[in-house]
Symmetry: C2
Subunit: 210 residues, 2 copies
C-alpha cells in the first residue's frame, strides 16, 4: 500500500518537473535527462515510472488539466453566486492574468500543437475541451432554469461559443501584451453583449419595432 | 541578379519543406537533417541559406503568414461585396475546413507554443496577429462608414474580439471533430448575434423601453 502511494507520488513529481520545463523552455527542452535533472533524479530512474517519453508527457498533460480544473472550481465557488455570475467568473478564470495562468496557458498551447501527432495527447486534449464545455453547459442550463438565459437557446452551442471565445482571448493575450492589458475588460464586455442576447425576452416583437 | 533570385527561391523551398514537416509531424521532427531530406538536399547545404535552425524556423513562419494572408485576400475579394460581407468572408476564411487550412492551423499552433521561448518567433507571431487585427479594423471602419456598424463602437476593440473568437473556434475545431462539424455554422450564428448589437440604432431609447 505505501509503495503504491509512493509510486503515484513519484509519477506526479516527475510530471510536475516536466510541466515546469514545458512552461519555461518549450517541448524541445523536455528530454528524459532534463526531466530527471529538474526533479533531482538520475536519468535511469524515469523508466521505473513511465513506459515511454510519451507516457510521461501524457501524464504531465493530465496534471495540467487537473490543476486548471482545481483552479476554476475554486474561482467559481461561493454559495451566494447565481449561475450567470458563476459563468462570468469561469470566463475570467480562463484568462492569463498572472504567472500561474500564463505558465499553464503555454503548457496547453504546447499540447494543442502536439495533439496533431499523437493520438493519446489528442484524446486527452479533446476530453479536456469537452469537460470544459460540459461545465459551461451545466451553468448555462442552471441559468436557463433560473430564468437568466432564454430557454430557447441551445446550451451546448452557447457553451462551445463561450469556450472558443475564452480560449481565443486567452491565447491572444498570452501572445500579445497589448491584448493582455485589455483581455479581462474585453471578456467582460463581450459577455455583456452576449448576455443581452440571451436574456429571456417576452416582449421581443415590441422591441423589434423600435 | 540571377544568383540573388536563386538564393531567395532556395530559402523558400527549404522553408516550405520545414512547413510540410511541421504540419505532418510537429516541431520535434524539424531537424536540419530532416528538412534537407524533405527538400531533397544534402544536410550541409542548409547552412548556406540559414544562419541557424531558428533562422530557418522564423523564415518558415513568415512563409506561413504570407500563405494565410494570400488565402484570406483571395477569399474576401470581389468588388460586389459590401464591408460587412467581406468581414463575414474573412471570419469564414479563418476556420479549418479543408486539408490546406488544417495544416496551416497546426503550423500556427506550433509557432504560438514556440513564441514562449524565442523572441524572434514571438515578434513574428505578434506582428501576424496585429496585422490580422488591422485588416479586420479596416473592414469595421469601412462598415461604420457605410452605416452597417454603429460608429459609437471602438473598431479596434471589436476587431480584437472577432479575431479572438475566430481563432478560438478554429483551434477548437482543429482539436475536436465535434466542434469542426459545426464551426462554420457557429461562426455565422455568432456573427449574426454580434451584428445585431453593432447595428446603428437611432431609436435606442425606444427599443430599451420594450
Amino acid at each position: 500500500m505505501p509503495k503504491i502511494v509512493d509510486h503515484v507520488r513519484r509519477r506526479e513529481e516527475l510530471a510536475d518537473a516536466a510541466l515546469r520545463l514545458l512552461a519555461r523552455s518549450g517541448i524541445r527542452s523536455v528530454t528524459t535527462r532534463a526531466v530527471a535533472e529538474e526533479a533531482g533524479w538520475s536519468p535511469g530512474a524515469l523508466s521505473h515510472y513511465f513506459d515511454s517519453h510519451n507516457d510521461l508527457l501524457v501524464h504531465a498533460l493530465r496534471r495540467a488539466v487537473q490543476r486548471q480544473a482545481d483552479y476554476v472550481r475554486g474561482a467559481i465557488q461561493g454559495s451566494d453566486h447565481d449561475p450567470l455570475e458563476r459563468l462570468r467568473l469561469l470566463m475570467r478564470a480562463s484568462l492569463p492574468v498572472d504567472e500561474r495562468s500564463i505558465s499553464l496557458l503555454r503548457i496547453f498551447l504546447i499540447f494543442y500543437a502536439e495533439a496533431g501527432d499523437d493520438s493519446e495527447t489528442s484524446d486527452e486534449v479533446r476530453e479536456y475541451l469537452r469537460s470544459w464545455r460540459r461545465s459551461v453547459t451545466r451553468l448555462i442550463v442552471a441559468a436557463q432554469d433560473a430564468g437568466q438565459i432564454s430557454s430557447e437557446l441551445d446550451p451546448v452551442d452557447l457553451a462551445s461559443d463561450l469556450i472558443a471565445l475564452a480560449d481565443g482571448l486567452a491565447i491572444h493575450a498570452f501572445l500579445d501584451p497589448e491584448v493582455l492589458a485589455r483581455s479581462t475588460e474585453r471578456a467582460t464586455a463581450l459577455l455583456t453583449v452576449l448576455e443581452s442576447q440571451w436574456r429571456p425576452t417576452p416582449a421581443k416583437s415590441d422591441a423589434a419595432s423600435a
